[in-house]
Chain length 187, copies 4
């Protein structure tokens, strides 16, 4: 039921890279949006989800699918400044737009991350053409499932998607502290 | 235009594994069919496309997507007998049905392989719910693209698919003789 | 102490590939010998130890290190005949000599495998320049450790090796039945 | 001939991590030393040579082999500060000592990097027990070869090493600008 779905909250960012002007979610209405929330020093982001986001960008038309990075720093703030992020994006050849999540006024979880209630990094969020959150994944998702789910949303304007992915083939995530190969966990 | 699409030819097989009775394509009408043509001694099949087929089987509902292996031996016939294949399927834990392509009467390319005009192994064929060939891939396809394309066909009964996968991210295959990491080429 | 070391038993083979004439261990005296015991349908052999053996062959001089494959079939005998093995070696581009372990007269574990008391496949055995067994590894060994251990044996004619590899970084193997990603276990 | 070998120049560093006090090469005399020169935003360092250095640390006794990281920043200086490096070492669980190469007074290549005439990052340097440079590798070296070469140096106090690694199995590095999967090149 459509009325059960949550409208995706707007980005709160301090700065953007790889785009001439700040991006708001409302600009992307009509496209499927893939938000890749990451920290540049999160090993699981570097080895898995950022490469996956680059593949998504290559595999789908930019008119249909918008890939957006969100740098959601919730630890080691002084180590992951926008200056460091800029060099990181250059060296890892990340070409999709990346917004810097607006730091919390009280020093904790940054604001967009809090709005989306993320558990840590990496987190991947899929938003449908109508701006509603449809998937919220902490950790890694298999490429095959990600390709299927994006496509399912892409075809929705024509007809409602059925639940075509029968079983989630991702590994179960054991909650942990700090970072492990799955990701970096909120304290 | 629908009338431009080729109806997938029926299987010609001598034997089946992992199924109680022989499978005919007509039994699968209404489902999307993934045919994985392979040889058990083809390195690219063992390392890439057979694991991908196993993932497809896990990711999608069996009511919606049928994964079918086809053992299309076109070289080293005495080395890849049904007896050897049976042990191979057991050791590699392949659980989807696998048909043994019917040998040619003249000793060359087996009959289903000839009907589908395959270039070698691995080859992956996607057939839509109406039994028509929609994709014909020699070598490896990226998991993300494969997930997208299967999903696109799955949603077709509801509405015609648009061409949503903008760019093919697979590597270009350089024609070769024998087997390389991409696959085994027909002479 | 030298007298504690076991002299490596001679090969008992029915047939050889990739060599003009049968190889006996005594022919290799003076060289370090790496015996790679495998079955062509053992997934862990195909994905890990056979590629490692190929790397060893490339990395060291053939005058110093002899890499020998041993096809130790202890299950699915009809599926892994010398005919199948020959095609396997061709398709996987294995160029070192491979002996076919002589079947047991009673149908169980083949004779060389029994002499070496192997636990299953893959098993890697290192033999020093004097023909003595120095390492006996079931499952996978890290390339770095394997490179260190072979080198340690290579330098022994000049001086006795000390135990320079402090900690074994291989994964612990949980005994199992049949084949898993580690290897194929004897019943 | 010993007299042909270059004595390894001393480190020039501004700061150390993972050690209570600064390390000088002379403190390590008698051990084989592996210097891993890296930049925290060099993709080839993160994916290949730093994990290899961690494996070396695990595989060999610390009494015999000293693994030392050297953060040789020659680009994006403001992005790879000691503050960022500290968080990087924490998140990637790097536990061997890491020195920060002393910046050049003129703003270019840092001082230890210049003394060693490195071509870029990653670079791995092997120093023998007598403090002499024995290997100087830009880019990636295969684990098997690295294990062999370290072991060869380890056994030298007992007897001079022969050149036992016959062929270098690493890929040839095509000179490039910036960073690619091999490493980051000096301008």
């Amino acid at each position: 039921m459509d009325m059960m779905l949550t409208q995706a909250p707007e980005f709160a960012t301090s700065q953007w890279f790889n785009t001439d002007k700040p991006i708001s979610l409302s600009d992307l209405r009509g496209r499927v949006v893939v938000i890749e929330a990451f920290q540049m020093l999160c090993p699981g982001c570097v080895s898995h989800t950022l490469p996956q986001a680059q593949t998504i960008q290559k595999a789908f038309s930019a008119d249909e699918v918008a890939v957006i990075g969100l740098h959601t720093v919730f630890e080691h703030h002084a180590a992951m400044t926008p200056t460091s992020l800029k060099a990181f994006l250059h060296e890892y050849r990340i070409e999709f737009p990346v917004g810097v999540d607006l730091p919390s006024k009280t020093g904790g979880i940054p604001q967009t991350m809090a709005r989306y209630q993320l558990r840590g990094t990496p987190s991947t969020i899929l938003i449908d053409r109508k701006g509603r959150i449809r998937k919220h994944k902490f950790g890694q998702e298999h490429d095959l499932v990600m390709g299927a789910e994006i496509t399912s949303l892409l075809l929705e304007p024509i007809a409602p998607s059925r639940d075509i992915v029968a079983r989630n083939i991702s590994e179960h995530i054991t909650p942990a502290e700090g970072c492990n190969e799955e990701g970096c966990f909120l304290p």
